[in-house]
Amino acid sequence: MMTDEIILRVEDIHKRYGENEVLKGVSFDVQRGETKVFIGPSGTGKSTLLRCINQLTVPDSGYIWLNGEEVTHAGPRINQYRQKIGMVFQNFNLFDHLTALGNVEIALLRVKKMNRQEARKKALMELEQVGLSDKVNSYPAELSGGQAQRLSIARALAMDPEVILFDEPTSSLDPELTREVLEVMRRLARNGMTMLIVTHEMGFALSVANEILFMEHGLIVEKGPPSEIPTSQNFTRTRQFLGSFQD
């Protein structure tokens, strides 16, 4: 499903919090339909990097380009770009005062300005996509962690994004719930959704990623297709990080 078309370009992103330089110049290109997985020790800037892409965190320097348009320094137009860059958070961040349907509908109504009928139809379709047709009228507090995360994926999908950023989507879930969320993500990858994923789920990363990027101390230190990890020189540090992975 991958094409040569570059849809997202990340160029020399720097971000510093006081003394602590979290990102020290990160660059990469993303092709349409590609799945890139970021791995590495905690606190190396992976989540900050994702947030810099949709400008929830504003980088100190560097550029983000979406389909050739600059997302950094976009001013109020950022709200248009963010519609095309979906985001799924570690702790879901569902809107607790709205039902599952309301969570998916709200941006369709308020941002895309769809009418009620259209929005409802689209939202119901997205909920079905993630297997939540029977939870339409449930509130977030009434959902399991896995259902909550699938709902937040549906909420992101409803905006018809060009790329979705997943920030440790399964880190707060137990193995069983993790599996149902990964299942949905796997299907998205198969259907050609462009995805950038920060995760510690190595099995999933290796089976789904087109490219693994190993980050450490604010830099991408190693990258390449997952098939090369066991043998290639390019992945010496990654192998060390993964430890027992070789066997």
Binding site: R82, F89, N93, H97, I106, A107, Y139, A141, M159
Partner: protein, 226 residues
């Protein structure tokens, strides 16, 4: 005994307009407080520095002064100085309203800052502007969280409202006092006044409790088992 109860029955028609005045004061003040308190809280949380300081100063003054001082200040000072000659009732309602606005803005501010950052992030990530996120995501949750604290302003205002006696507003206590001056049965009349305040207070609280239940979200917020 029969004389006492006769005093009660005879007093009621005269006290009734006092009840209306007292409730009028309380409801107008609650309304002023609500209309001012929510924007004040929003400015306090999201506004620019200078605006934040204006709100802080307002709250500082209106929470710092006794009601009676505020009433006299506005009744004898500020309103006449501005050339505004309005009735004691409206001055009292406005002063009570300004005062509760200070308290209410703090209630709403607390409720707004208690909403997790992630709500704003998620709303913005979907392409909402900051004001859309505040209006459609933050406020609906904050207002629900604020409801228990907010409804608490009702008994406070109701009991405070009797101070308006001091500037001659014909509220419940003022009218009771006028009856006492005529029939010299202070005990009977003041017990009656106390009973009416208790009834107004707890029936109001009962209504607000129903409103709180009405707006509760399943599995979310206070008073729900989870």
């Amino acid at each position: 005994m029969s004389i006492l109860s006769q005093a009660v029955i005879d007093s009621l028609p005269y006290l009734f307009p006092g009840i209306v005045t007292t409730l009028g004061l309380v409801l107008i003040a609650l309304g002023i407080g609500l209309v001012m308190g929510i924007p004040m809280a929003l400015i306090h949380v999201y506004g620019s520095r200078p605006l934040q300081y204006i709100i802080k100063t307002y709250v500082w003054i209106f929470r710092g002064l006794p009601i009676l001082v505020l009433l006299f200040l506005f009744y004898f000072g500020i309103f006449p100085l501005l050339g505004l000659y309005i009735s004691a009732f409206w001055i009292a309602a406005v002063v009570l309203g300004f005062r509760t606005a200070a308290y209410q803005s703090e209630i709403f501010r607390g409720a707004i800052i208690s909403i997790h950052d992630g709500q704003m992030l998620a709303a913005r990530s979907l392409g909402m502007s900051r004001s859309q996120a505040i209006l459609h995501v933050i406020l609906p949750q904050a207002l629900r969280n604020a409801l228990p604290g907010w409804t608490n302003e009702y008994p406070i205002l109701l009991t405070d409202s009797s101070v308006c006696y001091a500037i001659g507003v014909a509220e419940l206590l003022t009218r009771g006092n006028q009856i006492v001056a005529r029939i010299h049965e202070p005990m009977t009349i003041f017990i009656l006044i106390a009973a009416i305040f208790i009834i107004l207070n707890y029936s109001g609280q009962w209504i607000f409790a129903r409103i709180e239940r009405r707006y509760r979200i399943p599995g979310y917020g206070e008073g729900d088992s989870r």
